[in-house]
């Protein structure tokens, strides 16, 4: 039996080692423990949702998994190993408030492609294709910052996807959007998933969770209250925290 990643073939790594793994992840700030001993593994191609009340630590976990924050304890592994620059560039994240560079829509895409070393005619073709998929071709020369909220979020998603990430983190990407804009964002995410992109998404929307997720982690006060398939966690919650959530009740307890 070969135990280390170094001993395995790429095919074995793909089947046996999760794409991303968290082991005993904790995060402290201001003397308070905000995330408690979180462990999870995300196999390639999976759609994992993170749910929970405001302040439960959903966005924190996303940032810890993506490497934007350094955990106080525990570690994050990319295919069984500490993430390096290559691992970082195989991931992308779309924030709740999209960050638009002070450039045109097209230049925002070109920048992301340039960072990934895509240049010249290939870059132009990739950017044009991404604009078309996102329905932003008509706005290519507009300043990105004057787009509507929905258009900015689509651009942020297109910019994340244009570099062909293997793992996409989404932090409530539709939280402030109308149903039509939400639908377009979900279509783009689903299309990316169909192409094999692994999705880790934070959402408050139970309808969206049922449409978009395979599995869900339900957080309460920085701890995993419950996790499992979407239908099980949202349909027959075992924890009081998740049950209260699905019933629209406020849960302030400290146990699950």
């Amino acid at each position: 039996m070969r135990d280390t990643v170094m001993d395995m073939t790429p095919a074995e790594v793909a089947t046996r080692i999760p794409l991303l793994e968290a082991r005993g992840l904790s995060f402290d700030a201001g003397g308070t423990r905000l995330i408690h001993d979180l462990s999870l593994s995300i196999p390639e191609g999976r759609r994992l949702l993170i749910m929970g009340a405001n302040g439960a630590g959903k966005s924190l976990i996303l940032r810890l998994l993506h490497g934007l924050l350094t955990p106080s304890a525990g570690q994050v592994l990319w295919q069984g190993q500490a993430p390096d620059e290559k691992a970082r560039r195989a991931q992308a994240m779309v924030f709740q408030r999209p960050v638009m560079l002070r450039r045109s829509v097209l230049a925002n895409l070109n920048f992301a492609l340039s960072v990934h070393g895509v240049r010249g005619a290939e870059r132009a073709a990739e950017a044009a294709h991404a604009l078309e998929l996102a329905g932003l071709s008509e706005l290519a020369r507009h300043p990105a910052r004057v787009l509507s909220g929905g258009e900015q979020q689509r651009l942020a998603l297109a910019r994340a996807l244009v570099c062909k990430p293997r793992l996409l983190f989404l932090d409530e990407p539709t939280s402030s959007l109308d149903p039509a804009s939400t639908q377009r964002i979900e279509d783009l995410i689903n299309a990316a998933h169909m192409r094999g992109v692994t999705i880790v998404m934070v959402t408050h929307d139970m309808g969206q969770a049922r449409r978009m997720g395979d599995e869900v982690i339900f957080l309460h006060a920085g701890q995993v209250a419950e996790c499992g398939p979407i239908d099980q966690v949202l349909g027959k919650p075992r924890s009081e925290a998740a049950r209260a959530w699905t019933q629209g009740r406020l849960y302030t307890g400290t146990t699950f």
Binding site: R63, L68, M93, V99, A107
Partner: protein, 235 residues
Amino acid sequence: MFSFGDIMSEAFVLILNWDRNLSEIVGLSLYVTLSAVLLSCLIGLPLGAMVGAFRFPGRGVMTVILNALMGLPPVVVGLFVYLMLSASGPFGPLQLLYTPAAMIIAQTILVTPIVAALTKQVVEDLHGEYAEQFASMGLRPQERIAALLWDARYSLMTVALAGFGRAVAEVGAVLIVGGNINHVTRVMTTTIALETSKGNLELALALGVVLLVLAVLVNAVVMALRASAVRAAYA
């Protein structure tokens, strides 16, 4: 007693009868000032951007120093450059004292902290918006600096103008290291000082008016360039 009106009218007559000597003084002023601003931007923009965007030990001290150096006394800088370039100084063999190059060096020392400190503030604010996105994209430090400077380019034009304002109005340092030698290192500000002390107020005033007009023109040109660049960026 002189009449202010008479001096004003004579000053404008001198400007209208623009001569070669005046062209030489104005030309050298612009050459020295623009060269110093260019050098200051080459040093100050990346330096300010690095201090603005990165966290490193000593960053706070560096920020205080940069801010303090914005108020460098020109005569002290002139004296320092004089000592460095004088025959007994470490750079004496270069024989730069009393040349336009010495004046450019002195002005660069004066303007660089202004460019760096203002750039730091502009870039720090922009980096606050971009930091997580850049981290997510895995940008290398040099890619961050380049992207921040590019996206802040319109604000940085104003920073360069602030540097130009300091340089074009400077007299103490260039007088010490340039010597105000006719046809060699005589610029508008040193000529104004000299002619005023000689009582030749018409010429001093004429040069003062030219200096003001040039400062306004340079600002207008940069602002027009900025506006057209903003339009072109999204055309």
